[in-house]
């Protein structure tokens, strides 16, 4: 092995790394917010009484999940280029629709695991279906699914790396840039990997902050989404 290790250029490029890190976090946070909203709505629809609602929810989740994330991003970036959305927004939209479908599945399972009796009890006191969902079902469901949400958030952070392909200057993009400048290929990619590792671990711990979430269900760090 004739490779001469040299980590100093990596340290010298820490500004770029920091920029990339910031964008990765921004991308992930924005997508997390949007995909959670999408997931809550679609997941709720998936448990609705109306068969059309459930069918629509199923159509959405199947379609969004079975199209590769890379294709999602290209679609917003190239197919919808007439919208003139900045690359960052394209990445957020692609990530959110893709992850949203996964969140919807988790929400659907969570709602299903809140016993039927709770819904009946709520309705029996004169609450409408929507009120019952809002005050009784959703709060309980969210606590149940918190660990799964943690692993989905971790997955989101890793998926954000694909945004580099549509020229968003997040971490992976910067890694390529630094490699191009310094030719320290091994060092830069190992460093980036370790940074992702730290991010992902931190993310999974954050969700445990939700009060009442079942921490013993071992918030899996790494998603199997």
């Amino acid at each position: 092995m004739n490779y001469h290790f040299d980590w100093t250029p990596i340290w010298a490029a820490r500004g770029l790394i920091a920029e990339g890190l910031l964008l990765t976090i921004a991308l992930s946070a924005a997508s997390l917010a949007l995909s959670t909203i999408i997931g809550l709505i679609v997941g709720g629809a998936a448990t609705a009484r109306s068969r059309t609602m459930r069918a629509c929810a199923l159509f959405f989740t199947e379609t969004m999940r079975n199209i590769p994330l890379l294709i999602h991003m290209y679609i917003w970036y190239m197919a919808f280029s007439f919208l003139r959305l900045p690359a960052f927004s394209c990445a957020v939209l692609g990530l959110s629709l893709y992850s949203g479908a996964y969140v919807a599945e988790v929400v659907r399972a969570g709602i299903g695991s809140v016993g039927r009796g709770q819904m009946q009890a709520a309705l029996a006191t004169g609450l409408t279906g929507l009120q019952a969902m809002r005050y009784i079902i959703y709060p309980q469901a969210l606590r149940i699914i918190a660990p799964s949400l943690a692993s989905l958030f971790s997955q989101l952070i890793k998926d954000s790396s694909l945004a580099s392909v549509i020229a968003v200057g997040e971490l992976t993009y910067q890694a390529g840039a630094i490699d191009g400048q310094t030719f320290r290929t091994f060092e830069v990619y190992i460093t980036i990997s370790l940074i992702y590792l730290v991010l992902v671990t931190a993310a999974s711990q954050l969700v445990l902050l939700i009060p009442g979430s079942r921490s013993e269900a071992a918030a899996g760090r790494f998603a199997d989404a």
């Binding site: 092995m1 079975n66 590769p68 890793k158 790396s161 990619y189 790494f222």
Partner: protein, 216 residues
């Protein structure tokens, strides 16, 4: 079918074939490696166990794209060898999926009832025999649904190989687009192909799962 698709159909079909090849190799090799690593972690072979843990944690915390960059750029640079994008892609996919499968296998192995293991030992079987004849068969059956999930996931992930220049389905589509510029038609077609393939496989998986059921 849109003109641009018809015109480039052979190239696209070749891309689809590459996707299938990539997936097949990665699934087979990845499953073998994953089974090996998962078993090592379950049995807790000294030293190897620690290496396995490092490998699994590292890969599972790293994005697939970065793994591919490592197998295509970083490792060749480190060890001074040359590789094609195709081989690097398979290498990367195998490393990637094996880490996730290893965890699935490990969970499946741990889920086998201890009393069953004791029963096997009590009839005079050695630990390795018990592993081979009692634990593994049970674990594999339990683990099939999650394996299937990972396989479908992998097929979607093969699209990332396009970034390092492999002309599988996505790569092929992008090349065509670069020349003929019909992003909507090309991307829609590619999306539909993935949709059909992955949905069909998921459905098949669910049907298989319903057949085998979950026996505790």
């Amino acid at each position: 079918m849109p003109d641009v698709i018809l015109k480039n159909l052979p190239f696209l079909l070749h891309g689809l074939w590459l996707t299938v090849e990539l997936s097949a190799w990665s699934i087979v090799l990845g499953t073998l490696l994953g089974l090996l690593v998962g078993t090592i972690r379950f049995v807790r072979v000294p030293v190897l166990n620690v290496l396995a843990a490092i490998y699994v944690e590292f890969i599972r915390g790293t994005p697939l794209l970065v793994v591919l960059f490592i197998t295509y750029f970083a490792l060749p640079a480190l060890f001074g060898y040359r590789t094609t994008a195709y081989r690097a892609a398979i290498f990367g996919f195998v490393l990637f999926i094996a880490a996730y499968l290893a965890e699935d296998f490990r969970a499946g192995l741990r889920a086998v009832r201890p009393t069953l293991i004791q029963a096997g030992l009590a009839t005079g079987l050695t630990r390795w025999q018990v592993l081979r004849h009692i634990i593994l068969p049970q674990a594999i059956r339990r683990v099939l649904p999650s394996l299937f999930n990972q396989y479908v996931r992998l097929i979607k992930f093969t699209s990332v190989a396009s970034v390092i220049g492999v002309t599988e389905l996505t790569g092929a589509g992008l090349l065509i687009n670069a020349r003929d510029f019909h992003p909507v038609k090309i991307l829609a077609t590619i999306a539909i192909v993935y949709l059909v393939v992955c949905s069909a496989l998921s459905l098949a998986g669910r049907a298989l799962y319903a057949q085998f059921g979950v026996r505790t």
